[in-house]
């Protein structure tokens, strides 16, 4: 009797573990195809810039989009926080569609690839999400804010940022946007930042754009955060965008907050870092039912209620913040920044076409700009 009972209990546990284990594994190893676009001249991996990254979870693809005419170099980072999908989707649109006339754009779709292979305990994130397309749909890993503990474990008792020695929350040692400028003998995430700094130096990057999203309860939202040396670009871009397309703010990277891309890349390299934030109600602590629909449609009654109480830093109504709007904001902001930069630096201009703007993405949907890998030249397909 006892043995039978025990066997049944253990068997039930094993079934639960098996189902969950299969699901974790499936989403961790899900392959996300990128169909290299017309201007992709070559595809490197991050490990080529810093050998210890080679073969690790963070040995991400690096797409080089090159124009015929020489000019400046812009690095676009998607997936610093994979749980902010507008950032990654924007890099897909870039890598698959952008046509470079002058200069170069370097794109990473999975800047912290490790973080894209895991979801947060007690966050109830969906394992994946699917963007509808004419040819069906493309599925992406949901991902998290922090690197996968399977790639970096344990956390310290307190995270001390290199080199400032600022004390940060222990789990933020796995947060790529708290690890800049990174260190060569640090954790995987710190090494990833270090490798990215090597890339920025070696490729003489002029501007780094780090794509993010934020909860509406977070004061830094719908904005361009700029290092002091990028303030004029950010100000000009935000003014033009607010005038012509949508409201977007601009703020200066605070000197006292360490480890962030918009601070450390500016301090440690010649590049100008800019960070874009779009609103993602899915991340709000007051959100209701947590699923892929909320992630992509951005509609939530509870977040709306929080807004009515004046607890939010961005407006929200029943229409929510759909993914098309959020990706549209990132694409238009990027286009605007390139145009402001190129106008002032003719010899270092980066002239790009083929990337849709805000209105067009809202009208056609993000999926309209994703290419069907089944109908593409297999030699042009890369997996994230």
């Amino acid at each position: 009797m006892n043995t039978l009972r025990k066997t049944i209990i253990i068997a039930l546990g094993l079934v639960l573990a098996a189902f969950a284990g299969i699901s974790f594994r499936a989403s961790r190893f899900l392959k996300e195809p990128v169909v290299a676009g017309p201007s992709v001249a070559r595809v490197a991996t991050l490990g080529e810039y810093f050998a210890p990254i080679k073969g690790t979870a963070n040995d991400a693809n690096v797409f080089f989009l090159e124009g015929a005419k020489p000019g400046g170099t812009v690095l676009v980072l998607g997936g610093t926080h994979p749980e902010e999908p507008a950032g990654r989707l924007t890099t897909w649109i870039l890598a698959e569609n952008a046509v470079l006339d002058q200069g170069r754009i370097i794109v990473l779709n999975s800047t912290n690839r490790s973080a894209s292979t895991v979801t947060r305990p007690s966050g109830a994130y969906p394992a994946t999400y699917t963007i509808k397309t004419d040819w069906g749909g493309q599925t992406f890993r949901m991902g998290d804010r922090w690197s996968n503990p399977l790639d970096q474990w344990p956390d310290p008792e307190v995270y001390i940022h290199y080199p400032s020695k600022q004390n940060l929350a222990y789990m933020d040692i796995r947060n790529l946007n708290r690890d800049w400028p990174g260190r060569p003998n640090g954790t995987l995430t710190e090494k990833t930042c270090y490798a990215l700094i090597q890339l920025i130096n070696k490729e003489a990057v002029d501007i780094v754009i780090d794509l993010h999203e934020a909860e509406l309860q977070y004061p830094v939202i719908s904005t361009i955060v700029a290092h002091p040396k990028g303030l004029d670009i950010a100000a000009m871009a935000s003014m033009t965008l607010s005038d012509e397309e949508f409201k977007i703010g601009m703020e200066k990277s605070p000197a006292e907050l360490r480890g962030l891309s918009h601070r450390e890349i500016g301090d440690f390299t010649k590049a100008i870092p800019l960070l874009f934030e779009s609103p993602e109600p899915f991340l709000d602590a007051t959100r209701g039912r947590t699923d892929a629909r909320l992630l992509l449609e951005g509609k939530d009654d509870f977040v709306v209620r929080a807004g009515k109480r004046g607890l939010l830093f961005e407006k929200i109504d029943a229409k929510g913040w759909p993914i098309d709007v959020r990706v549209g904001r990132h694409c238009s902001t990027l286009i605007q920044v390139l145009s402001v930069w190129s106008a002032d630096h003719a010899d270092k201009a980066v002239i790009m076409t083929g990337v849709p703007k805000y209105a067009e993405i809202i009208q056609k949907g993000v999926g309209a700009f994703l290419h069907d890998p089944a109908k593409s030249d297999p030699k042009k397909i890369y997996y994230e």
């Binding site: 209990i9 253990i10 284990g21």
Partner: protein
């Protein structure tokens, strides 16, 4: 690297202790609880999560 291995070792040790207690347990509630508590330890050990 070595430290990470020590953590897997630690988890393995805890799993052994828990399974041992589970096998010797005579109360069904305790058995269920051991199985639930074992879930994260076992899946971490198998590097599934």
């Amino acid at each position: 690297m070595i430290i990470t291995w020590l953590y897997y070792l630690l988890v393995a040790y805890v799993v052994v202790l828990m399974v041992w207690n589970l096998i010797r347990s005579r109360k069904w509630q305790e058995e269920v609880l051991y199985v639930v508590v074992l879930l994260p330890f076992v899946l971490r050990l198998l590097r599934l999560k």
